[in-house]
């Protein structure tokens, strides 16, 4: 055997974007809820103080743990909505999932001052350091890690092209509706204001962005339900986006 790392004969799945340090993910920290902001009838943003947060890149997620009095724990992965900053705070935007024990607690019990435990940031795969042109496709709360990228792009005044296609049932269900700018095209699947088309994300949305790709092409990030991820990734492939430049994060 040689000392060269093994490279499979198959085309390689998308490599991670950043080196992930050992250690930070293994430490549980206390996160103190400081603010709750309603986004839509089903989604709210929860802001936490995490004084020893190691910092993250847009697109990364964390693991969050709630503990009951009898020691029962519930853990979930959540994408980080806030951009990297040095504020010692992070934000999560959570849907109120039907029957969800963790999201249910957040939406019906949680109040500022409550403490939960978090570990992270996790995974370099879906991270966007702000270097390559990025084409973002999200649906529902799948827009959360993508919004971290949009906010990062804005906060740093980056020149690199960034476009967001975000799908929601209607304007009332569109998370972060007031924050979008020229980089964003909302797609409404059930209802829309007068004059705005209603329908699923389609080739008509994706193909023009691929046709107008910046030099070097887009790095595509897709986030949402599995159904949306399958649909959106097929649209990208059909429009000519290389499969090894499509990163997908699915709910679950």
């Amino acid at each position: 055997m040689t000392s060269q790392p093994f490279v499979p004969p198959t085309r390689f799945a998308v490599p991670g974007r950043i080196a992930v340090g050992e250690g930070t993910a293994s430490v549980w920290q206390t996160a103190t809820l400081t603010e709750i902001r309603r986004e839509t009838p089903r989604a709210a943003t929860f802001r936490f103080a995490v004084p020893d947060w190691a910092g993250h890149l847009p697109g990364q997620h964390l693991m969050l743990r709630l503990t009951a009095r009898d020691g029962y724990v519930a853990q979930r992965h959540y994408s980080i909505a806030s951009p990297p900053d040095d504020a010692g705070h992070i934000e999560l935007t959570l849907d109120h999932v039907e029957g969800g024990e963790v999201s249910g607690w957040f939406h019906t019990v949680a109040r500022p001052g409550d403490e939960v435990r978090v570990r992270g940031p996790l995974s370099g795969f879906f991270a966007w350091p702000g270097d390559r042109p990025a084409l973002l496709l999200g649906a529902g709360s799948g827009v959360v890690p993508l919004m971290s990228m949009v906010r990062h792009h804005r906060a740093r005044g980056l020149d690199v092209p960034l476009r967001l296609l975000v799908s929601a049932r209607g304007p009332r269900e569109l998370i972060y509706a007031d924050e979008y700018g020229a980089e964003t095209t909302p797609v409404f699947t059930r209802g829309a204001p007068e004059g705005v088309p209603v329908g699923r994300m389609s080739a008509a949305h994706v193909a023009p962005l691929l046709a107008d790709a910046p030099p070097g092409g887009w790095e595509a990030y897709v986030c949402g339900s599995n159904g949306f991820a399958e649909h959106a990734s097929r649209l990208l492939v059909a429009a000519g986006q290389p499969v090894d430049r499509i990163r997908i994060e699915r709910f679950g």
Binding site: E22, E101, R250
Partner: protein, 201 residues
């Protein structure tokens, strides 16, 4: 213990079947692939074992199906915290493949790789002894593409990211080499009963 104010959680599941930090996904079977689901027909599927073996070999769909069938009935556990009880996969025990290629005495690990290029590293000991399969069916039906069909690796005693979808081959090695998620901060082995989720756990 850091008790969360006002958190009670779901009704407790009795019995020893839920690893620490996991919950019962019930009828759900979340799909978490990081890449585009490939369009891979059974006729185009192949499975190869090479590296530190006496006789490297590639099987076609029909050749793999000619090996003795084997069934796994039990539970699966995903690192994102869901577990799924009482699943039934049909396929061929990995032992049947490995017996034909005969790993060298120095072999200790394997990198499993997919037709998409996804990789996962595993100790050879986790792939032998009736604990790993190449699975073709789920619940008696062909394995759906989004769950790795036409064929996936199945190593149910480890977190499910080790059970590479659209399995294309195993490279047998005399050392450990991190795979796709392992390079992204996940644990080298991924034993759910020891909650080995991330590097350093």
């Amino acid at each position: 213990m850091n008790v969360t104010r006002g958190f009670t959680g779901r009704p407790r599941v009795a019995g020893p079947h839920l690893p620490p930090g996991q919950y019962d996904a019930g009828d759900d079977w979340p799909v978490l692939s990081a890449e585009v689901t490939p369009e891979l027909a059974a006729a185009d599927w192949t499975f190869r074992i090479d590296g530190l073996v006496a006789e490297p070999r590639t099987w076609t769909w029909d050749e793999a199906h000619a090996l003795p069938g084997s069934v796994y009935e039990g539970d699966i556990h995903c690192v994102t915290s869901w577990s799924k009880f009482g699943v039934r996969f049909g396929g061929v025990s990995l032992d049947a493949f490995l017996d034909l290629v005969r790993p060298e005495a120095t072999a200790t690990h394997a990198v499993a790789y997919s037709h998409t290029g996804y990789t996962a590293n595993l100790p050879l000991a986790d792939l032998t002894g009736g604990r790993a399969w190449i699975a073709f069916t789920y619940g008696g039906e062909p394995l759906p593409a989004e769950h790795g069909g036409p064929a996936r690796l199945l190593v149910p005693h480890l977190y499910f990211w080790k059970s590479a979808k659209w399995i294309a081959g195993l490279r047998i090695l005399d050392h450990d080499e991190p795979g796709f998620w392992e390079q992204n901060g996940y644990h080298a082995r991924g034993n759910p009963w020891e909650e080995q989720r991330y590097s350093g756990d």
